[in-house]
């Protein structure tokens, strides 16, 4: 024996120290569902219809249906076509998904009749490039967009307002927030709404809370949409979450009845993480979630593993499965907010590669939460991307000529928006008799990075103020009046226009956002019309000119200077 047994090469040492080795990886265990999408334990596709009713689904007869089977059979699948389309060979459907000549409408029609196992059978035939090609065609809205998290580790409303304004200016179509101290919610939701409308009129805002409060803020018009309505792929996990498909379907109607846009949330890995995958692969169970969402009649879904991303991320082919689940949501004709919203890896290379299947083809919201604050301030436990990645993101968009929903904005414009947001919030707080925002705080907001750069608030006073917002029944309309009275006419007008949308219900349609002119843009008037090269959404014209801009680009005209 030589003595080299414990000696390591210098290269091994270097590799050992790479950030990727801080990530966790595990072997598959298909019997328990710890497997991405290729499992012998998933059922084979089957469907039988009798008297206009599905009586057999994926090898199970009606008497043995659990509640997911029942809900999917009775609400999600088109009974008239089920037997016909499920009989089509999977490879034909898979090829049609990739084939530019096959229309999106036809694939949607086929998709409406397929069983969960059949859908899995189809996507199992597709590699990640084919999944991306299919996503390019199947996503519901023609124009891709992005969403930001705007939160504060100290629940500081001025920070939330300033970062919301900057995020909106950089291009996010939706802004989402949540709290450390839940009682702060009304002030943070107001800050997000006011800040967002300063950055770009028409941005939609959301505050993730328990159902009753979230719904109440929505009903008051302080927030504009809701997203954190979780659904799960097995009956036992669904019940552990204290819900059923029927309770969630009812909740979906409750939101719509108040004119509020809403989407469900689900993702691969949640069931196995809770130990109740019933021996099914992660993707099979996620397909059941997607069909359940369609059956409930909700317009969209946030999926892409979301808070369980560490689970598919650790098994072979897991990120392919995550790409597939986003594709299936789109194929099932739902708006897809495609994850990339939780801390995923220590390795920057893995962080980017995980996002490419959504960023390259484009999705309705590439990130369902790009952190618009430093990750340390991210109260959703950190995102795959944060503010420190803005310039990288913009450069990747420019390199590959893809639209990830953001753009480079020059610092003076950003500072101006941040200041205006902080000033507008200062005025609204004063007008609504809420704890004062000082000029020092406004000044801090203009130049700050994270919550540590702001003076501490008087938390006691703020919480009293937050309570009084609820007690007094302050509504979105009160914010409009306060902004108008204090001279922020344009911001008031922006907010009123957003509020007016709930009377029309236009934002309830699939994948709806508001464009810069406040025109609702959904999968009806901006339907994806991709039909191969030269068709569909193309990054060109004015938008492409915008995305060519970066922080430092050497001028061709005068190479001694930079343009930005």
């Amino acid at each position: 024996m030589t003595t080299t047994e414990n000696r390591r090469s210098k290269r091994t040492e270097i590799l050992e120290d790479r950030p990727v080795n801080l990530d966790g990886f595990v072997e598959e265990w298909p019997e328990k569902g710890l497997v991405a999408m290729e499992s012998d334990f998933d059922p084979a596709p089957s469907v039988r219809v009798e008297d206009g009713r599905i009586v057999e689904l994926d090898g199970r007869v009606r008497a043995d249906f659990d509640f997911m089977d029942t809900f999917i059979a009775d609400h999600a699948i088109d009974v008239e076509t089920a037997e016909e389309v499920t009989a089509i060979p999977s490879v034909e459907i898979a090829r049609a998904l990739v084939d530019p000549g096959a229309s999106r409408d036809e694939l949607i029609r086929i998709g409406r009749g397929l069983t969960p196992a059949k859908i899995l059978d189809v996507v199992k035939l597709m590699n990640v490039v084919e999944i991306m090609m299919a996503m390019q065609k199947m996503r519901s809205r023609r124009t891709p967009a992005n969403q930001a998290h705007s939160t504060s580790a100290k629940d500081n409303p001025i920070q939330v307002a300033a970062d919301a304004a900057e995020g909106a200016l950089r291009g996010f179509a939706e802004l989402e927030t949540t709290l450390g101290v839940v009682r702060y919610a009304p002030l943070i939701a107001i800050a997000l709404q006011v800040g967002g409308q300063v950055g770009r009129g028409g941005v939609l805002t959301q505050c993730a809370l328990e159902e009753a409060t979230e719904l109440e803020l929505g009903m008051r018009g302080i927030t504009a949409y809701a997203e954190t309505i979780s659904v799960y792929g097995t009956e036992s996990v669904f019940v552990d979450g204290d819900d059923t498909p029927w309770s969630k379907a009812f909740l979906a109607s409750a939101y719509a009845s108040r004119g509020i846009k809403m989407r469900f949330t689900s993702g691969t890995g949640s069931e196995v993480q809770m130990g109740n995958a019933e021996g099914r692969s992660m993707l099979y169970l996620e397909i059941r979630c997607i069909l359940m969402a369609r059956g409930a009649g909700v317009q969209g879904l946030q999926n892409g593993s979301i808070s369980c991303i560490g689970v598919p991320g650790a098994v072979p082919g897991g990120i392919r499965a995550v790409a597939a689940e986003n594709l299936i949501a789109s194929w099932m004709d739902l708006e897809c907010a495609s994850g990339n919203d939780q801390s995923f890896s220590h390795s920057s290379m893995r962080r980017v590669s995980r996002a490419l299947p959504q960023l390259l083809p484009g999705t309705d919201f590439v990130c369902s939460g790009f952190s618009g604050v430093p990750n340390a301030d991210n109260m959703f436990a950190g995102s795959n991307f944060d503010v420190e990645d803005y310039d990288d993101w913009n450069t990747i968009q420019r390199d590959l000529q893809v639209d990830g929903g953001l753009r480079h904005v020059r610092e003076p414009e950003i500072l101006q928006a941040r200041e205006k947001a902080a000033r507008a919030l200062q005025a609204v707080f004063a007008e609504l008799d809420l704890p004062a925002i000082t000029d020092t705080e406004v000044e801090a907001a203009v130049y700050a990075h994270g919550s540590g750069d702001y003076p501490d608030r008087d938390v006691l006073e703020d919480l009293k103020g937050a309570q009084s917002v609820m007690d007094r029944g302050v509504t979105g309309l009160d914010l409009v009046k306060a902004l108008e009275r204090t001279g922020f006419h344009d911001v008031a007008e922006n907010l009123l226009t957003v509020l007016r949308q709930r009377v029309s219900g236009d934002l309830l349609q699939t994948a709806a956002i508001l464009d810069d002119d406040f025109v609702p843009r959904s999968a009806i008037n901006d339907a994806n019309d991709y039909g191969g090269p030269g068709s569909g959404y193309r990054l060109q014209g004015e938008r492409w000119e915008q995305l060519k801009k970066l922080r430092h680009v050497t001028s061709a005209e005068n190479p001694e200077t930079e343009v930005s």
Binding site: V26, W29, G313, Q342
Partner: protein
């Protein structure tokens, strides 16, 4: 530091069916099916022998008695802990899963609630287990301990989420449905 490093092993000797305790000054430590059995260490390799030794030490230092119970028919932390609480003379228990996740529970609380929860198993070390034992004993005495500070690490997800799921599944494999909780005597020996 010259402190001698000693390896210890744990075995849980079955005594008989777990009974409801009558001493008002006891804490029941309830462990999951695979604890000190199929598994011998937590998700971050803290030996179960050390986990138990530190928890019991924390209880003993407060002058409170401890009993250990193995729960066989569930691996749900809240259910394990609540089973322990219902058997505890003081009503206070500590629930423990093999991967290290822990909870202080009380008999009168709803099952899904708790007094203190330590969900981030990768962040629990010997010192935290000692403090968990100490706090549980103080609750049993009717004192008001300051909650053990909980730690947080955003990057725990990429590193540990999948392994935690795997350990969870293994733990569930060890469940013996219908088997009642058993009182066990922890035997910690120097290896």
């Amino acid at each position: 530091m010259t402190a001698p490093a000693v390896q210890r092993t744990l075995s849980l000797k079955e005594i008989g069916p777990a009974q409801r305790g009558s001493r008002p000054d006891e804490v029941v430590v309830a462990v999951s099916p695979a604890f000190g059995d199929y598994f011998s260490k937590t998700i971050v390799d803290v030996p179960h022998a050390e986990v138990v030794r530190q928890i019991l030490a924390g209880i003993e230092e407060q002058g409170v008695a401890a009993r250990m119970v193995k729960v066989w028919d569930t691996a749900d932390l809240a259910a394990v802990a609540h089973t322990g609480a219902r058997l505890s003379g003081s009503g206070i228990s500590i629930g423990l899963l093999s991967r290290g996740t822990a909870m202080i529970h009380q008999r009168d609380l709803p099952r899904l609630s708790n007094l203190e929860l330590f969900p981030q198993s990768p962040l629990l070390d010997a010192e935290v287990f000692r403090r968990i034992g100490s706090n549980a004993a103080q609750y049993a005495k009717g004192e008001s301990p300051a909650p053990v500070p909980t730690r947080n690490d955003q990057m725990a997800r990429p590193r540990w989420q999948a392994k935690a799921a795997l350990l969870h599944l293994k733990e569930y494999e060890c469940i013996v449905a219908g088997r009642k909780p058993v009182e066990v005597e922890p035997v910690v020996s120097r290896a």
